[in-house]
Symmetry: C2
Subunit: 204 residues, 2 copies
DNA sequence: AGCCTGTGATTGAATGACCAATCAATGTTG
DNA sequence: CAACATTGATTGGTCATTCAATCACAGGCT
């Protein structure tokens, strides 16, 4: 059933995957510019150029559609490069600075969905898992840096919580405030993350 | 007109200020537990025990009501104590740890409204100004600490962006993820904020 | 004191609009 | 001719906002 489609690559046959993608793309466009509650299934269908009912044919509910959009977007939002350790961290911070400018739409959607997820269990668990994944990626980098310095890797998780949190906070500020200087903030975050002295296994 | 009311403390007479407060309180209760879009004016009126029309008598629109709730809540959310400098910073971080536990409802509302504000100009400017104010308070503390150490106060603004951002990020993580260890995160943030070496300064 | 009256407070029904989800019908294709 | 893809009208509901009508009271007037 599902596998057939990947075996055939002819363009003459119906390609529901294309339709699904069209809907996903249209949903992202509308959702990121208008917000979750201001975007109706009807609008998304219009943007995609399909009938309203077709959206519910591919996605059982609005929440499911939105989660699919989120997954789709996040898959394309990799900010971590190949370098390891401190160099990798610095590269990631540099990359983040440019992503802040180029992916406002995705960040808009992300931040809004966090708000939606607070009161919608379906969206909420999706967001939670996504946050955990991102924080985990930051934690990996933190662990590398600590290992490189041959110090206790214990605080890696806490550091990741703070760094990922600060990243989100900087995203929010740059979305909300036109005058926010995000480069300056990211540089300060990099300095704080890489030069701080953390309490070892014995807490302060 | 307005002064008369404060001169008389009899309970027999009409006290519109009380009614307004009742509506504000009811709105906070519902909004923080159900979210902006899942809360209708009708529900808020019921929670407050007044007629639906009365809500629009005191607040011209749902957005205005929500902003009034936000202002009301923020006015009661002071986490900065009287101490100055590094001691003040540490006290604020400690206080933040307990506020994280006790004011989940207010934080729920705050985070949701950030999302709403992204696509609603009226709410958006309210949120932006609020964020600026809070970041400004953090900046004041940062400036005190830098002054106390007799180093360049230049990075104070950038530090405040990061610290306030991290605070928001930690709030979000603690709201979204049951298993999030917020104390650990706040301690790490305090360590990063107070022990980091910033560009343009020599270490302490 | 007792009546009068205007103004602000309060009510609840009515308005006009919108929406997610369903479904029976139609199109398409292997 | 089945099975999948697509349509768009329908359903059953919700919502913010408006409005005409009622209520409570304060302060002037007799």
């Amino acid at each position: 059933m599902l596998v057939e489609r990947s075996t055939k690559t002819k363009e003459s046959l119906k390609m529901p995957a294309d339709t699904r993608d069209k809907i996903l793309q249209a949903a992202f466009t509308r959702l990121s510019s208008q917000g979750y509650e201001n975007t109706s299934i009807k609008e998304i269908a219009e943007e995609a150029g399909v009938a309203q009912g077709l959206v519910h044919y591919y996605f059982k509910s609005k929440q499911q559609l939105v989660l699919a959009v989120l997954m789709d977007v996040c898959a394309k939002l990799e900010i971590y490069g190949p370098e390891l350790g401190e160099a990798g961290a610095l590269a990631a911070f540099e990359n983040f600075k440019s992503v802040l400018r180029t992916r406002r739409d995705a960040h808009n959607l992300y931040v809004e969905l966090i708000g939606v997820g607070l009161h919608d269990r379906e969206v909420g668990t999706g967001i939670r898992d996504d946050i955990r994944r991102h924080r985990g990626e930051v934690e990996d980098i933190a662990r590398q840096v600590l290992a490189q310095r041959e110090v206790d890797p214990g605080p890696a998780r806490a550091i990741a919580s703070v760094v990922w949190g600060a990243i989100l906070g900087i995203i929010v500020q740059s979305l909300v405030d036109e005058d926010f200087n995000s480069d300056e903030a990211v540089d300060a975050l990099a300095a704080m993350a890489l030069s701080a002295v953390y309490p070892g296994t014995q807490s302060a």
